[in-house]
Each structure stands twice: as C-alpha cells, then as structure tokens.
Symmetry: C2
Subunit: 324 residues, 2 copies
C-alpha cells in the first residue's frame, strides 16, 4: 500500500515544526500569515489530507455500524438476512455510514465482540438480527448505554409496548392473515398451515395470522390442519410428507417458510395453491405465491431509528403477498 504523506512530511517540506502544521490545520488564526501560506503550499504539493483515524480520534465517531454476519446456513432464512444486509449497506452508503462485519458463535462470544468494538470506538452503533425471547445481548447493550436497533422484536410479553430498546420488525401475522384471506376469497375452505413446532416467536406469530383469518371465515375446527414440522435442510421433503398425509386432501396450504412451501408444492403438484414466506428465488423458480418482507423499508427504518433520539421506539412493517 502506498505510504500517505504525514504531518511530519508537511513540517519538513515547509521548514516548520509539527506543532505549527497542527496549528495551521486546527487553529490557523494563531499562525503568522507567511508561515500559514508556506504550510498550505506544502500541504498542496504533497497532497496531504488529515487522516481519517485522526479525525475519528478527535470526534470519537467512526460513522460505522457493526453487524454480525451469521454463519452461512446456506438455507432460506440465511439468505433473508443476506438480503437485509444488502439493503442495509446500500442505504447506509447513501448516508455516508459504513458497515463493519463481525462473526460470533454464540451470545457470550458476541458480547465479547461488543466489548472489543466499543473499547476501540470502532463502531458508533450496532444492528442486531436473530433476536429471541431472553436474548442476553439486549440487557448488556442497554446497561452499557450502547446505541443499537434490532431487526426483530423483543418477543417477550407486551413486546410491542416495551420501550427498553429500539426495534424494527415485520408483521408475519398480518402476512399470513392476508395470504389465508386471499385463498378463502378464491373459494378454498380446507386450508392447512404448514409451520414449525409451537414455541418460536416468529412461527407462532405466523400461525396466529392463519388461525385468525380462518376463524373470521367461520372455520373453527383447525385441529387436523395445523401441521408442525422441524425444518431440516438435509430433508426438505418432511413438510411435503406431512401435507400429503392429510385426509381428505387440503384445498390449499399456507406455510411459515418457502422451504416448507417447496415441500408442499412438490408433494401436491401445481394444482393445489401453496403460499410460502420470504419470497425467495425458490418461490419464483417454482412459481408459487409467497409473502415478501419489505427489506428495503426495514433497512431504512433501522437507520432512521439508529440516528434518532426521539420517542419512537419501534416500527412494525407490513409484508406483501406476491401472487403467482
């Protein structure tokens, strides 16, 4: 890497002390005009520019946001966070902010990374993803007075009124409600929900959207239609087998993810409507409908909240049903 000119180089060329160069840069009024001119000529001839690290040192701000890059799961939900990262970096770039990536194997390791990054003033703020109920990172950051926003709500009780930290999330319940309602309008009645076992905040939220739309249509006996499978990247057929086992066959299936929807599509064929979640390339490739998270809006809201000292503590955005 080329060596950049330093204050010492400027001082040598101008025949003055380093302190005088520093005075010209920071308090020019106290320097004699002839000296000031000589230093400014040296600065111009060398192409010297005050160092960003020096600027950061003065201002204690690095204009940098830290984001954890999750281990490559290579699956569908991993790809969602990658797409969020793209949206965030593009938006941040336009605001003159930089994004620094880090990895961490678990919450304790991530808290150790926070300490390193904050000690070094390497980041001004953090964006957290993959939040969950009882997330230890959040109280640590609150206690240490660190500026941060999570993509993901707190997932505790009363989470949408919890003011302990700022967050942005997408209303999965509204998404599944819209998807299920659209199938009901097309005449489907026996609509199955293919999701994860009860207990994950995200999954239960999506299930509730389906339940609510079904109840609104007067369909209250959902017992056999609520299919719960563990997702397994090595066995994408698991959801398909659950759906194929339904007796009688369903009119349509709404799913908690596109990979579950893929299983349903392959098991039932293209004549049974299937709706996935996250609008991944899989949904486009196989031509099934899917619920798209507005990742560009999420990124904009995260950056908005991260820079804000106002009272708004969260944004719950509405996803969009992509029909196919």
């Amino acid at each position: 890497m080329r060596r950049l000119p330093t204050v010492s180089d400027v001082a040598e060329v101008a025949g003055v002390s380093r302190q005088t160069v520093s005075n010209v840069l920071n308090t020019p009024a106290i320097v004699r005009p002839e000296t000031r001119e000589r230093v400014q000529e040296a600065i111009a001839s060398l192409g010297y520019r005050p160092h960003a690290s020096a600027r950061r040192l003065r201002t204690r701000r690095s204009s940098t946001i830290g984001v954890r890059l999750d281990p490559g799961t290579d699956g569908m939900s991993g790809s969602l966070l990658d797409r969020f990262l793209h949206a965030l970096v593009e938006r941040a770039d336009r605001s003159g902010l930089r994004v620094l990536l880090y990895t961490a194997a678990d919450e304790d390791a991530e808290i150790a990374v926070f300490e390193r990054l904050l000690d070094g003033a390497d980041v001004d703020a953090l964006v957290l993803t993959s939040t969950h109920y009882g997330d230890r990172r959040i109280p640590w950051l609150v206690e240490h007075d660190v500026r941060f926003v999570t993509f993901g709500r707190p997932w505790g009780e009363h989470d949408t009124t919890d003011r302990s930290h700022r967050w942005v999330d997408v209303d999965g319940r509204a998404g599944l409600h819209a998807g299920t309602t659209s199938l009901l309008e097309q005449g489907a009645r026996r609509i199955a929900f293919l999701g994860w076992p009860v207990g994950s905040g995200t999954g239960d939220d999506r299930r509730n959207g389906w339940r609510q739309a079904m109840r609104e249509a007067g369909i209250t006996d959902l017992a056999g239609l609520d299919l719960q499978v563990e997702e397994d990247p090595q066995d994408l057929g698991r959801g398909g087998r659950a759906v194929a086992g339904l007796e009688p066959a369903p009119d349509a299936v709404v799913c908690a993810s596109d990979s579950l929807a893929l299983g349903a599509r392959l098991a039932l064929g293209p004549d049974v409507p299937v709706i996935g979640y996250d609008d991944t390339p899989l949904a486009r490739a196989l031509g099934f409908a899917s619920i798209a998270q507005p990742l560009d809006e999420v990124a904009a809201a995260v950056l908005d909240l991260i820079g804000s000292d106002e009272g708004v503590h969260h944004r719950l955005l509405t996803p969009r049903l992509v029909q196919r």
Copy 2:
C-alpha cells in the same frame, strides 16, 4: 453510546499534564517512578484504554479489508458471492482482521470509493469480486500500489501467467469436465451443454470443460448440443424450453448454473440426469447434482495471498462434483 475515558481524564485524575500521560504510555522510562505509578493508577481506576483510532494512527494500519457488496440480485450468482463473503468474514475474524463493506454502482464509482477509503487509511487491502476482461479497477489499483486480491482471474490472454496482480479462482473447466465425464461413465452419450451466449470468460471456460470431455470420449459433433441462452431471473423457463426443443432428446444435460439446471430439470423430469453449477439450495431442494465451488478454500487462499509478499501470484482451485 457511553463516553470512553480519554487521556485528558487520566491527566486530570493523576494531576499531571496530557504529555506526561502520553509519555507513560509511549516512553515510560523517561517518567519519574512516582509519577508513572500515579498515572498507572489513574489508568486502572478509569478503565482507560489507548484508543483504536490512535493505535491505527500510529501504525497506519487498520487491519481492515474492504469488500464491495454487490447490489442484491436476489438470484443464484448473487447468493454465491454472499456465501463467499460469509467464508471470508469467518476466516478474517480468526486472523483478527475486519471486513468493511461498501457498494458502488459501476467501476468509476468504485474507483472513487477506493480513493476515499485509501485517503482515510480505512482499509489496508481490498478484495475484488466479479472481475472481467478489461476491468478498469485493476490497473488503477496496480498504479496506486494498493494491496489487493481478486476472486476471479484476469480473463485476458495468458491470464494464468499474468503477474500484475494476485488472484484466486475456481477451475470451472475442470468442474464441467468432471461432471461430463461422470455422465459418460454412466453410459450417457448425447450430453447437452446448457450455458450462456459465447463471450463471458466464466461461461466459455465451463463450456470448454464439457467440449473437452466429449472430445476425449470420441464425440465430436457437438453442433446441436451446445445450447446458449441469456439468463433471465424473471423467466427461469428459458433454459428448459431450449432443452425440451432438442430432437432427439438428450441423455443428460450439464449446465453453467443451477438456475439453468432448474429449467432443464423441470422440462425433462427427474429421469434425465442434470448437473448444475454452484450447488445452491435449489440443487439440494430439487435433488439434482451440481458442481460446488470450494468457497472456504477460496477465502483462505485470498487471505493468504493478501498477507503475502512472496512470489505466488495466484491459486486456481478445483471444484467438486456433488452427486445426488
């Protein structure tokens, strides 16, 4: 964000000048033992740590690698670069290096970003992706004596002996050769190649692997079997239609990408062997074979070359055929 203790805070608590604190930190031998002890006590009681920006300023090294995050294409090749980024960040983390992301709409914009990053000494080195023949970024970086490695070969004539810059790439020709040979061994003779129009370095390299394996098996009339389609994320069926139009039908199809392979698989059904490229979730989901780039090895080689002043200028790695 919490305010970190500064040299001034230490000076105040110890009742000495800022210069004395600086001396204790940098040239302790010149400070009287009693004073040194007082300053060290103040450092300990305040939890002061020399600022990372200050360290960087002294050493002119930020231990940071700059990487462009390409606009989210949301397709299959975009996901490959995301997977490379994951591998790079994980490897870099283990070496104490950080990865700073930037975006740029085109080559000129990216060169402007280089200038900003280098002026600020914000990065020590750059990793470039999506290189192509005539890439203007490369001569700019060479001319400005910037340390960089490309994931992607120069793609000019004599590229593998070109010593103008360091690069790592994956031997797509070897990958298609292995895939085609494996199909020949299974008894297939009429093996079509489904790729992009002639003219892209990557695509032609992959096509040449298929050609070579076919010639080695004594199959020289390849005219009707060399299918060339523009990939269109909005119309994934294009490759499938080209394959379905073959008369007589092919025994098997090797493809330049998984999204092309998806089209072939959907058009021909599961009984005709299809081999894709990049081993994406699509290949796993639909159960077709694919050629996997060794992204973790690529990341390791990139970091190896970026830190090296030795004579090795490139690494051409061999991909792996994932049978299904």
